[in-house]
């Protein structure tokens, strides 16, 4: 049974993630344009001084934005295409569907991740220690943002609302938190409300691991893991799966 569930998850990632990449590559340019534009602005304004923030921020943004775009995707698949209706009459569980989407997202985000890895490498930002932190942070960020998006999407009654919610969350979770700018630039008191976005602790950990901002890396990582657990739990326990 477990094997057949894994098989479905992989097939779903092929069905939705790989085909999106293969046939919808124009959207790769769409999700790349915001972080690259911000990178350009930061480079020009700071004369290159804040470029490492822009590179790390871009990497975090791509994962967060693509994960949050699930709000619109899952809503559309549920309400317009009735894909969820089709799957609930099979053995597929909400968890399988969610992991299938997470994996699809990862595949779809790959070109963007590669571009930023390349930029970071050219800028001499990476070493083994930092790459490990990168993987340790981006994985829970992908899971938590996707789980939150999935949870929200199952409550959206109309597709037209989903585009707005996804765009709103994308901005709130990637532009306002300290992803593209140093965390020390805002008072700590403002950081607390921003912690609701998993991108905030994720950014604090990476800025610390990359020597850009001194903070308690373990505490922030634990915050990210706790947030990820909460959002996954929300998605699995409270999402509307069979009852829609």
């Amino acid at each position: 049974m477990a094997y057949s569930r894994i098989r479905f998850i992989i097939t779903f990632a092929w069905f939705y993630g790989y085909t999106s990449l293969k046939r919808g590559y124009v959207y790769v340019a769409t999700y790349m344009i915001t972080p690259l534009s911000v990178l350009f602005l930061i480079y020009v304004i700071s004369r290159g001084a804040l470029l490492p923030y822009a590179i790390l921020g871009g990497l975090l943004s791509i994962i967060t934005m693509n994960s949050l775009s699930l709000v619109a995707d899952v809503t559309f698949l549920r309400l317009e295409l009735k894909l969820q209706d089709l799957l609930v009459s099979t053995h597929v569980k909400a968890l399988d569907y969610l992991i299938g989407h997470i994996l699809s997202n990862l595949i779809f985000s790959m070109p963007g991740i590669m571009v930023y890895i390349l930029l970071g490498t050219l800028y001499g930002m990476f070493n083994a220690f930092r790459i490990i932190w990168l993987i340790l942070v981006l994985t829970p960020l992908l899971i938590s943002s996707s789980a939150l998006a999935f949870f929200i999407s199952t409550f959206i009654p109309h597709v037209r609302h989903s585009w707005g919610v996804a765009s709103f969350l994308s901005i709130v979770f990637t532009i306002i938190p300290p992803l593209y700018y140093p965390a020390y630039a805002i008072p700590v008191i403002f950081l607390y409300p921003l912690l609701i976005s998993p991108s905030t602790p994720a950014s604090l950990v990476l800025q610390s691991a990359f020597g850009l901002y001194e903070t308690d890396i373990i505490l922030n990582y634990v915050t990210l893991i706790v947030e990820t657990s909460i959002y996954v739990l929300l998605a699995l326990k409270f999402s509307r799966w069979r009852s829609v």
Binding site: S20, L86, H91
Partner: protein, 224 residues
């Protein structure tokens, strides 16, 4: 979830034994539409793995069913590029490939052109599974169903074979004119014995044979 009553499929309670039910059914919703970026082959394979088939089984069954519904030539083309009828056939291919004991199809030929509809009917007629089909097309019900259940506002109003259901109309024809028993749109419809037709000679009426539609008309089911 149901608020009252019991529903069983092949003896399994749909509420108490959902896993057993899921194993034997394949359900295709009425408004299901394919994901535009994915091909018919990718749809059927994904659906079959969701039903627990191995990848090699899924590919084999998908190939077979896509050939059966006439989509094999476009099996690798994104469904965005297919016609409406072909898109609908993707779901018929899924249902066929599923090898389910009971297939629930909701309006499987909605929006199909007449030829595609005939093709789908022919496929469904040869399906080994027990088919529960929801349709508003009376000719479809007549063509495919051994037993017809007419429902109105969630309640069964008539049930039986086509002959049983049309028994009240035996020896009758339908006439449409500007006066009559049942008002449908701007027309009035009445049912009269064939031998009484001579009484209407020279009058402005249209005579039609009885169909399943007439069952709906006499039960007042066309009103909402």
């Amino acid at each position: 979830m149901p608020t009252s009553g019991i529903a069983e499929i092949e003896g399994y309670d749909v509420v108490k034994e959902p896993n057993k039910v899921r194993k034997i059914i394949s359900s295709i919703p009425q408004e299901a539409r394919p994901v535009g970026i994915a091909s018919p082959l990718e749809h059927v394979v994904m659906y079959l793995t969701a039903r627990g088939f191995s990848l090699s089984e899924a590919f084999n069954l998908a190939r077979k069913s896509l050939k059966e519904v006439g989509l094999w030539d476009v099996a690798n083309i994104p469904t965005d590029e297919l016609s409406g009828g072909m898109k609908r056939k993707v779901f018929v291919a899924m249902a066929i490939a599923s090898n389910a004991e009971v297939v629930l199809l909701d309006e499987p030929t909605l929006g199909l052109d007449p030829i595609s509809r005939l093709e789908v009917w022919s496929i469904l007629k040869h399906l080994d599974a027990k088919l529960i089909l929801t349709t508003h097309y009376m000719e479809e019900a007549k063509e495919l169903a051994k037993e017809i259940i007419v429902m109105h506002k969630g309640r069964i109003v008539a049930r039986g074979t086509i002959d049983e259901l049309l028994k009240p109309f035996n020896g009758k024809v339908r006439i449409e004119s500007n006066i009559g028993e049942y008002k449908v749109g701007s027309n009035y419809i009445s049912y009269i014995n064939i031998e009484d037709l001579k009484d209407f000679k020279g009058k402005d009426i249209t005579v039609k044979p009885i169909t399943l539609e007439d069952l709906l008309i006499i039960n007042g089911l066309g009103e909402d």
